[in-house]
């Protein structure tokens, strides 16, 4: 298998781990009627460090996997991940990608946008009345998701970077060459 294939499988494996962990946490949080959404976390690393091919392939496959479990029209969550990837890729030249603080901050913005897009899509496909309870739940879910993103994103970025380093890939090589 070539270098691209190995890197991609490693990234997919890390994303699968994050997805399982997120499902467990959400199962536990369901007792309090709150949910965490971290769509940007799945694509942050590949969108900031990967090529167009690897970034969009990751967003597509992860999105289709998540979509297969949700009752929404297929491709809705994939679209959100692709959108996230597009936004992050268009902004990545303006930040220092080796800085965890900058990458987390840009990820936070992407996660907010993704959350709001998901909320818009959910409300379009749902027949629910948008009352105070819905608004309150959206606000609480968003705040909680952002807090968890702040805690998880730096760890997850470093985790993926370490996994790639173990397989002999240096994701910062492109940026180091430029500087």
């Amino acid at each position: 298998m070539n270098r691209f294939g190995i890197s991609w499988l490693i990234i997919l494996g890390a994303n699968a781990l994050l997805f399982v962990l997120l499902t467990w946490v959400n199962q536990w949080l369901s007792m309090g009627s709150v949910t965490i959404y971290l769509p940007a976390a799945f694509v942050l690393f590949t969108a900031l460090h990967g090529s167009n091919r690897i970034a969009f392939a990751t967003a597509l496959v992860v999105g289709l996997f998540i979509d297969a479990l949700s009752p929404l029209p297929y491709f809705s969550q994939t679209f959100v991940l692709l959108l996230c990837t597009t936004i992050l890729m268009s902004l990545r030249q303006r930040i220092r990608r080796s800085s965890l603080m900058q990458t987390t901050a840009i990820g936070l913005v992407a996660n907010t946008l993704a959350f709001l897009t998901l909320t818009l899509l959910f409300s379009l496909f749902s027949t629910l009345p948008l009352d105070l309870a819905v608004f309150l739940r959206i606000v609480i879910d968003l705040l909680l998701s952002q807090l968890v993103f702040l805690a998880v994103a730096p760890w997850f970025l470093e985790f993926q970077k370490s996994l790639l380093s173990l397989s002999g890939v240096n994701p910062d090589a492109e940026e180091q060459q430029k500087s």
């Binding site: 949910t35 996997f65 979509d67 479990l69 009752p71 692709l82 739940r137």
Partner: protein
């Protein structure tokens, strides 16, 4: 054309191409892709669930013999009580069948229960569902009722070969005909959006004005045979109060659902039993 050639605009072009391709894909291909991606990850979820069972098994193994003896004793008492109930039920069932034959009314649908482990729960603002470790291979079909010792959990929404997705009773998409305990007039139960940090709840609608709930008391909301595949008389939740609806003709109220709904490990699917055809028919 210069805009397309610019490197920084390429992600937007790729996104537009993805969306355009997805829009023109045939619906059958979309469904096949969805099924494929579901079937691809289903074994992993089943494996994770088996792993959880194994962990639980080893936790139970570490319990002392004294605890096991106590549990065994409690179970023996329960078994004795249930044996008596089964005998009572048999005689009551025979009495019902006799009365049905005398009065010429259609018989109650009969069910057998398929026990299934819960693999994962997906409790969000917009939908609430769980995946169970039994599927079409075990006789499960869409629309069948899912129950547990405390009452109704939901309805099967999607069936795969070894797994099934259950729409929970608290899900805003869940609606079923019901009765307020002790009254035969039908009402409608509907799941609603749950506010953060609250127990699951639903709403009862179309309650005729004659039905009242005294202050400080609560009445059980039970399933009705009008609700399709649901066995009659199973608990959906409890209603504390009713108030006049916006139309002024009917009442509505909040239904308290059991808190266990979101952390059940095992459920039962009520599979309708086909009526036996006797030689005379």
């Amino acid at each position: 054309m210069a805009w397309i050639r610019r490197r920084k605009n390429r992600p937007f072009i790729i996104l537009a191409v993805f969306v355009a391709v997805w829009c023109i894909l045939p619906q059958r291909l979309v469904q096949t892709t969805r099924d494929g991606f579901y079937q691809l990850q289903a074994p992993a979820w089943v494996a994770v669930s088996h792993l959880g069972d194994l962990v639980q098994f080893w936790q139970l193994r570490s319990q002392s013999k004294a605890e096991l003896i106590e549990s065994g004793r409690d179970l023996a008492r329960l078994n004795a009580a249930y044996s008596l109930r089964i005998q009572e039920n048999t005689s009551l069932r025979m009495e019902i069948e006799r009365l049905e034959a005398v009065l010429g009314i259609p018989s109650e649908p009969d069910f057998h229960y398929e026990v299934a482990r819960v693999i994962r729960r997906d409790i969000t603002l917009w939908w609430q569902q769980m995946t169970i470790r039994k599927g079409s291979k075990h006789g499960l079909r869409e629309g069948q009722a899912v129950v547990y010792g405390g009452g109704i959990i939901g309805r099967i929404k999607e069936v795969h070969s070894t797994t099934a997705i259950v729409s929970l009773v608290s899900s805003p998409a869940f609606r079923v005909a019901a009765n307020i305990e002790g009254d035969i007039r039908p009402v409608t139960y509907q799941g609603v959006i749950n506010a953060p940090f609250t127990d699951p709840r639903g709403e009862v609608r179309d309650v005729v004005p004659g039905i009242t709930i005294p202050t400080g008391e609560s009445r059980r909301l039970v399933s009705s045979r009008l609700g399709g595949n649901f066995p009659q008389g199973l608990t959906i939740g409890h209603v504390d109060a009713l108030e006049p609806g916006p139309d002024g003709l009917f009442q509505h109220g909040t239904v308290r659902l059991p808190a266990q709904l979101y952390f059940l490990q095992e459920v039962s699917v009520a599979i309708p039993v086909e009526p036996r055809v006797t030689g005379n028919e």
